[in-house]
């Protein structure tokens, strides 16, 4: 039954105009970036910035709006003999698979064509993880606020925080504590933002990390090694799992 709900949601979303537009947008951006840049490394960096801005935004907002609009449909599912946790997991997986698929089709094909092996692989994995993280955060927003406008507001604020405000805060801290050796602490701070984690992962792949200065060297030292990379990957997975589990717990006890 678990697979069934997710399958039907997936087919519903794949025909959604916004998701089709998102796929096309990614495709146009990716193809044009790689056609304009001769150096595929530079292309990856440009694309990285675009992907890290659009993918979280589309994933979190689309998830939130879709879940609010499905309120009556969720009620119908609840009146069927299905476990509540299966319904929520089905919705989450349906949303995640459809958005991940449009990322793979939109950005994945040009990446595989233009970027050499390992970097392409990491770029794709990060794109999919970021999609999962923001679908998970979107589910949490929906469950935390009963009111649609407030829920979408929280979603937009979260996106704003992770894409813009967080970096500002980190920069502010860096300047304030410039006299102290905080390079190692920065590794810890970066774990608080999945977008930054994903960015670091990819930049370290590109041999441009020298531009990051001493902190970059520390990052390279930590995330570049097998052990650090695994920790970073696990942290990203936690960003998917923890918000989802909180929303799941709340959904199971929720009155609809």
């Amino acid at each position: 039954m678990f697979n069934k709900i997710q399958k039907f949601i997936l087919f519903d979303i794949l025909k959604n105009r916004i998701v089709i537009a998102y796929t096309l947008l990614l495709a146009v951006l990716a193809w044009s970036v790689f056609s304009l840049e001769d150096d595929s490394n530079k292309g990856v960096l440009t694309l990285l910035n675009i992907v890290l801005l659009t993918t979280p935004l589309v994933s979190i907002i689309f998830t939130t709006i879709y879940l609010y609009n499905s309120a009556e449909f969720i009620e119908l599912l609840l009146s069927q003999p299905v476990r509540r946790s299966k319904i929520w997991a089905g919705l989450f997986l349906g949303l995640f698979f459809s958005l991940a698929l449009s990322f793979l089709i939109g950005a994945g094909i040009p990446i595989l064509l233009f970027v050499p092996g390992k970097t392409a692989f990491i770029l794709l994995v990060m794109g999919i993880l970021i999609t999962a993280i923001f679908v998970s955060l979107g589910s949490l927003c929906t469950i935390l606020a009963r009111d649609k406008a407030r829920g979408i507001g929280i979603a937009i604020l979260l996106w704003l925080y992770f894409s813009l405000l967080f970096d500002g805060l980190v920069l502010f801290l860096l300047f304030q504590f410039a006299d102290y050796p905080i390079e190692k602490a920065m590794v810890g701070v970066s774990a608080l933002n999945p977008i930054d984690l994903a960015r670091i992962f990819i930049i370290l792949q590109l041999d441009v990390s020298a531009m990051l200065g001493y902190t970059g060297a520390i990052f390279k030292d930590f995330f570049g090694m097998g052990f650090g990379a695994i920790i970073g990957f696990l942290l990203l997975c936690m960003w998917v799992i923890i918000p989802f589990l909180i929303s799941l717990r709340k959904f199971v006890k929720k009155d609809l």
């Binding site: 039954m1 069934k4 709900i5 039907f8 949601i9 087919f11 519903d12 979303i13 025909k15 959604n16 609009n69 499905s70 309120a71 009556e72 449909f73 009620e75 119908l76 599912l77 609840l78 009146s79 069927q80 003999p81 299905v82 476990r83 509540r84 006890k253 009155d255 609809l256």
Partner: protein
């Protein structure tokens, strides 16, 4: 068949259900009536497991529903306002629910035929009128031959012909010994359908009695008159 024992439900400070007790037997067709906000929908949703009561238990065939979701195999629910995934067609929605239910028992497609849904199976849900969506909801509620039917304002939004088809269907199923719950504000419409009336007020059940007894006691001929008589008498006292 369904036993509701001391159910209370609180939303924040607001107490929606106050120690509600109700016993329903197969073959009854129960009209659940009462003013807006009296807790009808909350009571229905508690039976369906959508709302989890603050205290009290609900037994379905002697089993507590809190621990087990399988009892919903025996319930057909028609919501007041159905909404389905926009991009699915009617046929896909019906197939999906069939797939989710996964029942081996025989399907009852009489309403699908009567509402002529077969001709528009390929229409997308987002393009349907409110009335047609209600027809889909009704067909889904009856499709699996459930022992209990819960219909929330079933005829609201349906055209007179479709409403008549649905009423006929409710009567036939009721005669087969199924338990049916109907909420409605249109008392005149319920007259030839229901066998029992449950009147709710401010989260409490005022009374639960059979229609014949109610008419006898109030010395009236129709349900609408009987209820108005009772409400007026209360008002005077």
């Amino acid at each position: 068949m369904i036993e509701i024992q001391h159910i209370s439900k609180q939303f924040g400070k607001f107490q929606v259900l106050k120690d509600v007790n109700l016993t329903c037997a197969p073959g009854q067709c129960i009209a659940l009536i009462g003013p807006n906000g009296c807790g009808k929908t909350t009571l229905i949703k508690s039976i369906l497991g959508m709302v989890i009561p603050t205290s009290g238990i609900i037994l379905f065939n002697g089993k507590n529903i809190a621990s087990d979701y399988h009892y919903r195999h025996q319930i057909g629910y028609m919501p007041q306002k159905g909404r389905y995934p926009d991009n699915m067609t009617i046929g896909q929605v019906i197939d999906m629910i069939k797939d989710i239910r996964n029942t081996k028992s025989e399907l009852d497609e009489q309403l699908i035929d009567a509402f002529r849904l077969n001709d528009i199976m390929d229409k997308k849900m987002m393009n349907l009128s409110g009335g047609t969506t209600q027809k889909v909801s009704a067909s889904l509620a009856f499709l699996f031959n459930p022992d209990v039917l819960i219909l929330d304002e079933p005829t609201a939004g349906l055209d007179p012909l479709a409403a008549e088809i649905l009423k006929e269907k409710i009567i036939t199923e009721n005669k087969k010994g199924k338990l049916i719950f109907i909420t409605s504000h249109l008392l005149s419409e319920l007259d030839d359908l229901v066998t029992d009336v449950v009147l709710m007020q401010e989260g409490d059940i005022r009374f639960h009695m059979s229609t014949s007894l109610l008419k006898e006691q109030t010395n009236t001929t129709s349900l609408a008159k009987a209820i108005t008589y009772l409400l007026k008498r209360d008002h005077v006292q």
